[in-house]
């Protein structure tokens, strides 16, 4: 994957300074525009996640992927925008809905998909599965299956950066469901107390499995969840990659400069059920259709590329087919790669 736009941390912070602070509930974003190249990169990175996840869903349906499989479709702008705002060396950690984060950090789609199918060439040699993948090289620390557990872990990664005197920031993602776990607040307290370089990205996709935010949360504005620890927070339109990138750059700069943690609540939406076996009866079909038609993060970028950037449609078609090729190759690999050798049963228990 090309990483030019992803590594443009300095450019992002520059434009961020020019941006005005705002509340982000309004759909009309006044976040600084992306350049044409950035828009193209964002389109490409988000489309890769979308197509990869659709393929995962299909392969799950074919029985090639087992167990649990949580798709990221609809939420692509969050992780891609945050990666655009981060710089090389910044760490990423998340929960179980993690395929998008892996691809956005530049992990190889073949290795990710082969892990989903439980094959030898998967990132965890087939021993972790959908929710448990890691790449030290890409500073991706998982992939954690216990809701909320990644929050103290990410805080600890930030602690280690500060301990070593490094200037990296740990982007710690969790959902609106995890935001009600006690260990999140234990982490907030320590992160604020010790001014740790961590950005908490709360991906509010409105439903914790089947329970809507309003049925689970006494305070539904998650950006306020750090108030009693003096952690600043903001709500961000998580469907608009420009807004995500801009807010992300500011939050990361805050953490990197030694000011301590920052909370970004990303207002986003998942189109698919919680997992593959979720018929999503807790919401109306209209709600899903409306989000897809009016706020789709990829469609927003596509419209701008075709409109104001005057990119010919055939250029985008080329991107589409390039992405399709990457995903199909990954699917081929993940289907044909052998299962792990039986002897792997007994390896990697202890170093």
């Amino acid at each position: 994957m090309a990483t030019a736009a992803r590594k443009s941390g300095s450019a992002a912070s520059k434009s961020a300074k020019g941006g005005t602070r705002r509340t982000t509930r309004n759909t009309q974003s006044n976040a600084p525009a992306l350049s044409k190249d950035e828009e193209l990169q964002a389109y490409r990175d988000m489309l890769l996640i979308r197509r990869f996840e659709e393929k995962s869903g299909q392969m799950y349906g074919m029985g090639l992927i087992g167990g649990f499989c949580h798709l990221y479709i609809g939420q692509e702008a969050v992780v891609v925008g945050m990666q655009m705002a981060s710089k090389d060396g910044d760490q990423v950690i998340t929960g179980y809905r993690d395929h998008g984060h892996m691809l956005a950090t530049g992990m190889d789609p073949k290795g990710v998909l082969a892990e989903l199918t439980g094959r030898k060439g998967g990132y965890s040699k087939g021993k972790g599965g959908s929710m448990h993948m890691f790449s030290k090289e890409k500073h991706f620390y998982g992939g954690h299956g216990i809701v909320g557990a990644q929050v103290p872990l990410g805080t600890g990664i930030a602690f280690a950066s500060k301990y070593r005197g490094e200037d990296s920031v740990c982007l710690t993602y969790f959902g609106d469901g995890a935001a009600n776990q006690g260990q999140v607040y234990e982490s907030f307290n320590m992160a604020a107390l010790w001014k740790l370089p961590v950005v908490y990205v709360i991906e509010n996709n409105r439903y914790a499995m089947g329970t809507s935010v309003s049925r689970a949360a006494a305070q539904t504005d998650f950006s306020k969840r750090g108030l009693s620890f003096n952690i600043p927070g903001e709500q961000v339109d998580g469907m608009d990659i420009r807004a995500v990138r801009e807010a992300g750059a500011r939050a990361i700069e805050h953490a990197r400069s030694g000011e301590g943690p920052f909370i970004l609540e990303m207002l986003t939406y998942r189109y698919r059920g919680h997992s593959m076996s979720d018929p999503a009866k807790y919401r109306t079909k209209d709600e899903v259709t409306r989000m897809r038609e009016e706020q789709d993060p990829i469609e927003q970028v596509r419209r701008r590329l075709l409109g104001e950037w005057e990119v010919p449609e055939k250029d985008l078609k080329e991107v589409d087919s390039e992405i399709r090729k990457i995903v199909n190759e990954a699917a081929d690999f993940a289907t044909n790669d052998p299962e792990p050798d039986p002897s792997e049963l007994w390896t990697d228990i202890l170093h």
Binding site: R51, K127, R164, Q183
Partner: protein
């Protein structure tokens, strides 16, 4: 090439379902994400989405069809530029779909129970060497080494201080470890020598700081996390087991967790059920953890140093009652004791008594009593519970033919139950009597002094058990 749309499974256990309704019709153009059809199982209604772009060339299975097997082609999509009529003729078999081989492989997998490369028998665990490999701990201290009487409290502190001097990545964190100098004074003077960056007072937030420590370890530091008592680690056990112990395996060997969780464990004195639990058996149940429970000050020091250097998570179980007891500790620049090796604490030919941690106090006193009656007990101090040094135990049992296992923890699924099992499995033919166990009683620890005493093992019980297996 035309693409088959297959009947999807909603879960790994679904084998068939009902094709309820088509939402697209033949000739419609479709793109990824479009809902093609609805399918039903006994549990739910789900939508089949298109993954590919093209034209719905042919519907192979119509509306309202029951019992459609998973992976049956239900429609054909012609890709852009393909002749729709030609594609529709293709039929499910002629049109080799992408991933077609996968379906066949899959069919094979579901029909035969284990068509995977593993075959039907799981591979054996790495061979466990038999009892000829008894460990000789007498080599750990060179002859003529000066021995200095040291309390366990000081030995543990010295171990941490030496490792912190040796490795900048080592730091200590926990409640009251710095300014207060340790709730039990185990971290005394560490703050003065190493400063607040490396001796970190935490809020009372076990789940949080255990997880924070694990994250720091993932990132390459070597945290020593003190729990004021292991009873409080119950708040943190998810991070210890799900995050620290399992991640190396789940990452295919990429992400290790070099961390030590240490603190007092088990009964102290009159602190009742919530502050008296012995967790040796709990943690020893978990692959991915090492569990250490020393008795002497020398072992406490040497094992803690090894634990801090170990690339894996180590549970280091101390005992409040033992903190103040003195033992000779070798005066060496760098004294370590290997994890996973037992020590013969007393030699004898008549009966083997196996114990660890504070359980050793009963074993030692019982051996003295037994000697008065002419029974010479051999005492094995396990020192490490996991991995357990069966070899040293088995070698002793092969010599004595009799075994008593002693622990303060509960009897069911306890560490002594594991010892008894291993002796039965590996030295059955050498046993002259069933293995006997002396454990804490199967009750929450009571507060009243007399009841507490009754709940704990006693020297008399060990003596009695040893005599019973000797038929005396």
């Amino acid at each position: 090439m035309p693409i088959d749309v297959l009947m999807p499974a909603l879960s790994p256990t679904m084998e068939q379902g009902k094709l309820a309704k088509w939402l697209k019709k033949e000739g419609d153009s479709v793109k990824p994400g479009d809902v093609l059809a609805e399918i039903e199982t006994d549990k739910a209604t789900m939508e089949v989405e298109a993954v590919d772009e093209g034209t719905l060339a042919k519907i192979l299975i119509g509306d309202d069809t029951d019992n459609v097997a998973v992976n049956t082609p239900i429609a054909i999509i012609a890709e852009e530029g393909e002749d729709v009529a030609e594609a529709a003729k293709g039929g499910p078999k002629a049109a080799a779909p992408e991933g077609g081989s996968a379906q066949e492989e899959l069919a094979g997998e579901s029909s035969s129970e284990s068509a995977s490369s593993g075959g039907s028998a799981p591979p054996a665990a790495p061979a466990v060497a038999r009892s000829t490999n008894a460990y000789d701990a007498s080599d750990e201290v060179p002859e003529g080494t000066e021995m200095v009487d040291t309390t366990i409290r000081e030995a543990l502190r010295d171990a941490m201080a030496e490792e912190m001097r040796r490795d900048e990545k080592v730091f200590v964190m926990g409640e009251e470890v710095a300014e207060y100098q340790g709730a039990y004074k185990v971290t005394q003077n560490l703050l003065q020598e190493f400063g607040a960056r490396r001796v970190v007072d935490t809020p009372i937030t076990e789940h949080g700081f255990a997880g924070l420590g694990v994250g720091a370890a993932f990132s390459g530091l070597r945290p020593v996390v003190e729990f004021m008592t292991f009873n409080f680690a119950m708040q943190a056990i998810d991070q210890i087991i799900n995050s620290a112990a399992k991640t190396l395996y789940m990452s295919g060997g990429q992400l290790g967790c070099p961390i030590v969780f240490r603190g007092p464990n088990g009964a102290a004195s009159r602190v009742a059920a919530q502050h008296s639990h012995d967790y040796a058996a709990w943690y020893s149940n978990v692959p991915g953890l090492s569990v250490v429970m020393p008795y002497t000050a020398a072992d406490a020091k040497g094992l803690l140093k090894s634990a801090i250097r170990d690339p894996n998570p180590v549970i280091f179980l101390e005992n409040e009652v033992l903190y103040g007891q003195s033992f000779p500790v070798p005066k060496l620049d760098d004294f370590t004791v290997p994890i996973g090796k037992a020590r013969v604490h007393r030699k004898g030919d008549d009966v083997t008594i196996v114990s660890f941690g504070i359980g050793m106090t009963y074993a030692i006193k019982a051996a003295e009593e037994l000697a008065k009656e002419g029974i010479e007990a051999e005492i094995i101090d396990l020192r490490t519970i996991r991995p357990m040094d069966s070899d040293t135990v088995i070698a002793s049992v092969m010599k004595t033919g009799r075994c008593v296992a002693v622990e303060e923890g509960f009897p069911q699924s306890g560490v002594t139950a594991e010892i008894a099992t291993r002796v039965m499995e590996q030295a059955f033919d050498y046993l002259d009597a069933p293995v006997a166990r002396v454990t804490g009683k199967d009750v929450p620890m009571p507060y009243a002094a007399n009841l507490e005493k009754l709940a704990l093992p006693s020297v008399a019980e060990v003596v009695q058990a040893a005599k019973a297996v000797c038929y005396k």
